[in-house]
């Protein structure tokens, strides 16, 4: 992936929402590329995040991204510890236990609201803090002050049955992403929405990429998060004369 020249200052990447999938793959790839990496999660003591700290020097942060004050504190801490972020990935699914596979007549309103807060509202909060800081960044060699990427899902493209809360959350996230893109791109901040139209299969301890729900028969029908991370990096490095807004990723065998 040869791209245009980067500025001499190291990139500071913040990934909000951390687990074994896309966030870990992003942290590894970004660190390999010489970026300083921060990763925020409700529970940063997850083993997989501790390993990122040990192997990559990624800095872990505790953050409930649906809480405005917590998100503000997160960005202050990142600026203090790592520097001003130039790449922010919002990577929160947001669904809470008890909301999965619930029809509209049975979904608990409180859980639906929590899903919305965790997903779209936290995207707003993270996007807002990122934009406030990035506006003041110096443009890099590509003319960009920073990149904000929203991980999204199939539900951003279509509302599936028994998934109303998630559909509402994902489409709201697309909306805030689109609005931010139109506002911020002319100011030199690249905003992208990346719906992953697939189940994610990360490499497990035993070397396989089986998904927890998909059994063991994996024939590339699960998106490999290491490859998703490559797309995020490519978006971050696009020259500002050719910025992409929405990139849907799906496996070759996926029906859609």
């Amino acid at each position: 992936m040869t791209q245009s020249d980067q500025s001499s200052l190291p990139d500071v990447a913040l990934i909000v929402g951390g687990g074994p999938g896309i966030s870990s793959s992003c942290a590894r790839l970004f660190a390999q590329q010489g970026m300083r990496v921060g990763i925020a999660a409700r529970n940063p003591d997850k083993e997989v995040l501790q390993r990122l700290e040990q192997t990559l020097g990624a800095r872990r942060y505790t953050c409930d991204a649906s809480d405005p004050a917590a998100v503000e504190r997160l960005f202050q801490s990142v600026v203090r510890d790592l520097g001003r972020p130039t790449l922010v990935v919002h990577n929160i699914d947001g669904r809470v236990e008890g909301i999965f596979r619930k029809g509209i007549t049975e979904a608990d309103p409180e859980l639906a609201l929590n899903t919305l807060k965790n997903s779209a509202f936290s995207a707003f909060l993270v996007g807002q803090q990122a934009a406030r800081l990035m506006r003041e960044n110096k443009p890099n060699a590509n003319g960009a002050k920073g990149t904000i990427i929203f991980t999204n899902a199939s539900a951003a493209l279509k509302g599936f049955p028994l998934s109303g809360a998630f559909a509402m959350a994902c489409q709201a996230k697309s909306g805030i992403a689109q609005s931010m893109a139109r506002e911020l791109m002319p100011q030199g901040i690249h905003v992208a929405n990346v719906p992953i139209d697939a189940a994610i299969g990360w490499t497990q301890e035993d070397g396989t990429r089986a998904h927890r729900l998909a059994g063991t028969s994996v024939d590339d029908n699960l998106a490999d998060p290491d490859r998703i991370a490559e797309t995020y990096l490519q978006l971050h490095r696009q020259h500002r004369s050719t910025w992409a807004f929405e990139v849907v990723l799906r496996p070759w065998l996926e029906k859609w």
């Binding site: 020259h239 004369s241 050719t242 070759w252 996926e254």
Partner: protein, 254 residues
């Protein structure tokens, strides 16, 4: 034999730059365009002198069998076509309905939609037999939005987008990656935008919006995304991508 990247519509803009970029990746670039043999030779010479390899062909995509025969000859004489870039534009400028002739509409459709159909009919069986291939299709704002005066162009590009979707539906699971690439803005391309505007207006646009302003899409940078798409792992293919200059207004609901 060296794998081939076939570019249909290779001027000094996206087509030529994409061909050149794939030549740097080790493909033999087969560059096709309708006219301007001198311009074509310059593109080919530049690739060859950069250490790549390329061949140029004059090709009128509207002529019966022109695409089909070119594909067959390349496969026989040069190598397997692994990457196809369909980059023919069909923009004729804004024209109200009364000024859009039947002929203009039909030509738009032949360049916009039918040429891609003929190309796909010819290369898909070859790619399917090999179990892999990439078809990168340049498209335009008009594929998403029918703006005033775009009768011919919008119909042609809307057709192109839907054709890409049905090609993808049939061939993705057979290893052929089809990508509909939305170029949602003016490209700094002397052979298309430059000719449409004339030299004076084009230079004016370059001075005010292009160059260091980065408000015109720069084809050399667009080419990076084409190469990136062709390299995507099959567990994470993109079917459609939209690109524009950072300072431009997107097509969606102006």
């Amino acid at each position: 034999m060296q794998p081939v990247c076939l570019v249909i519509g290779a001027g000094a803009g996206i087509g030529g730059n994409v061909g050149r970029r794939f030549a740097r990746e080790g493909y033999h670039a087969c560059l096709c365009r309708r006219s301007d043999l001198d311009g074509l030779n310059r593109l080919v010479d530049r690739i060859n002198s950069d250490g790549g390899s390329a061949t140029g062909f004059l090709l009128n995509a509207i002529e019966p069998n022109a695409i089909e025969e070119r594909v067959a000859a390349i496969e026989a004489d040069i190598g397997p076509i692994e990457i196809v870039v369909y980059n023919l534009g069909a923009q004729i400028g804004d024209r109200p309905l009364k000024d859009t002739s039947l002929k203009a509409f039909e030509t738009g459709w032949r360049l916009g939609t039918f040429g891609l159909f003929r190309l796909a009919s010819t290369v898909c069986p070859l790619m399917e037999a090999r179990g892999k291939g990439t078809i990168l299709v340049t498209s335009a704002t008009a594929a998403m939005r029918g703006n005033a005066g775009q009768h011919s162009h919008a119909a042609a590009m809307g057709g192109r987008r839907m054709l890409c979707q049905t090609l993808n539906a049939e061939f993705a699971s057979k290893g052929i990656h089809v990508v509909h690439i939305l170029i949602d803005g003016a490209v700094d391309a002397p052979d298309t935008l430059g000719k449409m505007l004339g030299p004076e207006k084009f230079q004016q646009l370059r001075d005010t919006r292009g160059k260091e302003h980065d408000g015109l899409m720069l084809p050399a940078h667009i080419a990076e995304t084409y190469v990136y798409l062709a390299k995507q792992h099959r567990s994470t293919w993109t079917f459609e991508i939209d690109m524009r200059a950072f300072s431009d207004r997107p097509w969606w609901n102006h």
